[in-house]
């Protein structure tokens, strides 16, 4: 799960890319590996990587984010330090990319370098409880649209099946089944399922391709 230096999380708007990227970076840091997380989201105004700033800092994950994220400045900006993902090959780079083809646009300038280095995993984050990726055809459509713009091929699938607080084992198992079917059609392998800690033990009994994840705390009001 952790063998490639650059790991990209892309997918449909609201599929849980930030959530998976943050938790993946934390898992790398936990292994004592040097890791930076890059917020390349130029689409989403709220609920950003920077919400997990304190957790990431505590775990020793370097956060490269637009200085305008979560402020009132409404411009699609990236941090100039984002080029470090290609320049500094001593560190793992986890890339959190904006949703759909509109979000993937931001990756274009880096894709050539990533493909050239050829030490990357490009993960398609899928939540089959999102209406537009509820069926296989919809998911394939989103996948193709993103790949065209990002100019980088997907290498695997992440099952992020969830209904927020209402998620149960049933949803995650359905996600596995869905992603395996999607894999048959696309030739991509299901790399892992992201599973919130309260469900981790019961899922782990059935499959070992699991990334234990913690919810990002956005506010006390949810």
């Amino acid at each position: 799960m952790f063998d490639k230096r650059v790991v990209l999380f892309m997918g449909h708007y609201g599929s849980g890319k930030t959530f998976c990227a943050v938790n993946y970076a934390l898992a790398l840091a936990k292994k004592g590996l040097p890791v930076s997380i890059y917020d390349l989201d130029i689409v989403n105004p709220y609920f950003r990587t920077v919400d997990a700033e304190k957790t990431l800092e505590k775990a020793g994950v370097e956060l490269i984010v637009s200085p305008y994220a979560e402020t009132n400045v409404d411009i699609p900006a990236m941090n100039a330090a984002s080029y470090k993902m290609l320049d500094d090959k001593t560190r793992y780079a986890v890339l959190d990319i904006g949703g759909d083809e509109r979000g993937a646009l931001a990756l274009g300038r880096f894709s050539e370098g990533i493909v050239k280095e050829n030490n990357f995993e490009c993960l398609f984050v899928v939540n089959p409880y999102r209406p537009e990726t509820r069926d296989i055809a919809g998911a394939i459509n989103v996948k193709n649209e993103i790949e065209q713009v990002a100019r980088i091929p997907f290498t695997g699938i992440v099952n992020n099946a969830n209904l927020g607080e209402e998620t149960t084992e049933k949803h995650i198992f359905y996600g596995i089944e869905f992603c395996e079917k999607l894999g048959e059609k696309t030739g991509l392998l299901l790399k892992f399922s992201s599973v919130i800690k309260r469900l981790y033990c019961s899922i782990k009994e059935k499959t070992d391709k699991v990334l234990p994840v913690d919810a990002i705390k956005y506010g006390d009001w949810l």
Binding site: Y13, G14, N44, P45, Y46, F47, E70, T71, N72, D74, R102, N127, Y129, R130, P131, R134, N162, L163, G164, E165, E166, Y218, G219, D220, W221, L222
Partner: protein, 356 residues
């Protein structure tokens, strides 16, 4: 009930509009409502509907006037500064007696303000915004599910009374994701023989207009519309009561502020404070009666809002000076924490809070 899906508030609202029969959307992008337009741009062409990104908010609302005149379900959406631009057209909709849905996913103001959530367009939504004698029906959802359900309600009420209806959401309601059940609500149909669909389809000429050459006639139009407003105030008030049975302090809050307050109330109850909440779902018509009745039982009111104090005046008018009214708010795109609301409740209990 069909299986739930996970959606952003903006997406749920857009999907509901389509399910409610809306095939005419006119808009212009602005954070934090852009997903409504983006969703419509993707979906409308697939179902034979019209998504049109206008050259400005002013153009978009005028396109709504045109579409609504022909009797179809038409809508537009924007965020605070964009709604200010639409205000002239909203007044024209009211004057023309046209049903339409206007969505405001509020951000901080005044002016360009900021992109973070706010409820500071309460005055604009409930007290006019545009010019002239008119009201909007104003619905305030407090969950993604309500973003979905209120959209059906908004179209139904607009058609029923021939008035423009507004959904007053805020950035968090638009952006946050929650499980939502996409079961269609009732789609009510009302007589639209007034629509301008060509003389071949109705008797005589139908005219949609807000200009009157005679003051007496304009007064007549306004009076007849206010008769309908009176019916709306009588029949269409919506609110939710939370832990009000034995409450001594009554929080009044809507939308995201109600979500925060609910958590504060649960925490306050654990400390032995008897707090409850009345959550207006319609901001106009305002739930005056239930607040007035509560004033006979509780000892104080606390209005919690994401602004400098706008709804609090309506709370005061409704409780009619029977009990002290307090206010707690954050503004500029800052959301209060439940702890801040709890502190305010404790201050009220101890007699240390300042009255509004």
């Amino acid at each position: 009930m069909s299986e739930k899906v996970l959606m952003k508030g903006n997406e749920a609202l857009a999907e509901a509009a389509i399910m409610a029969g809306c095939r005419h959307y006119f808009g212009y992008p602005i954070t934090p409502q852009t997903e409504v337009a983006a969703y419509m741009a993707k979906r409308m062409p697939k179902i034979g509907g019209t998504f049109l990104q206008a050259e400005s908010e002013v153009a978009a609302i005028n396109m709504v006037i045109g579409a609504a005149s022909s009797g179809v379900r038409a809508m537009t959406s924007s965020s605070s500064p964009g709604i200010s631009l639409k205000s002239e057209g909203i007044s024209y909709l009211a004057g023309c007696e046209l049903p339409a849905l206007i969505v405001n996913v509020q951000r901080g103001g005044p002016g360009l303000g900021g992109i973070q959530p706010s409820q500071s367009d309460y005055f604009q939504a409930t007290k006019g915004g545009g010019h002239g004698d008119y009201h909007l029906i104003v619905l305030a959802p407090a969950s993604v599910q309500e973003m979905f359900d209120m959209t059906f309600k908004g179209f139904n009420l607009a058609d029923k009374y021939r008035v423009p209806t507004m959904i007053l959401a805020d950035g968090t309601m638009g952006q946050m994701m929650e499980p939502v059940s996409l079961d269609a609500n009732a789609v009510e149909t009302y007589d639209k023989s007034w629509a301008t669909v060509g003389t071949g389809k109705h008797e005589g000429r139908n005219v949609i207009n807000s200009l009157s050459l005679s003051p007496a006639q304009l007064e007549e139009w306004n009076k007849s519309r206010y008769e309908r407003y009176a019916l709306i105030e009588k029949d269409e008030v919506m609110y939710e009561e939370f832990m009000m049975d034995d409450a001594e302090i009554c929080v009044v809050a809507f939308g995201i502020a109600a979500r925060v307050s609910k958590n504060a109330i649960v925490a306050a109850r654990k400390q032995g404070l008897k707090v409850g909440m009345i959550r207006p779902i319609t901001l106009w018509p305002f739930p005056k009666e239930v607040i007035s009745k509560a004033a006979d039982k509780v000892k104080a009111f606390l209005s919690v809002e994401l602004n400098m104090g706008q709804m609090v005046d309506d709370v005061k008018l409704a409780e009619n000076c029977k009990k002290p009214v307090y206010f707690y708010g954050r503004t500029g795109g800052v959301i209060m924490s439940p702890d801040e609301v709890l502190d305010e409740l404790i201050k009220i209990e101890k007699g240390e809070a300042k009255q509004w």
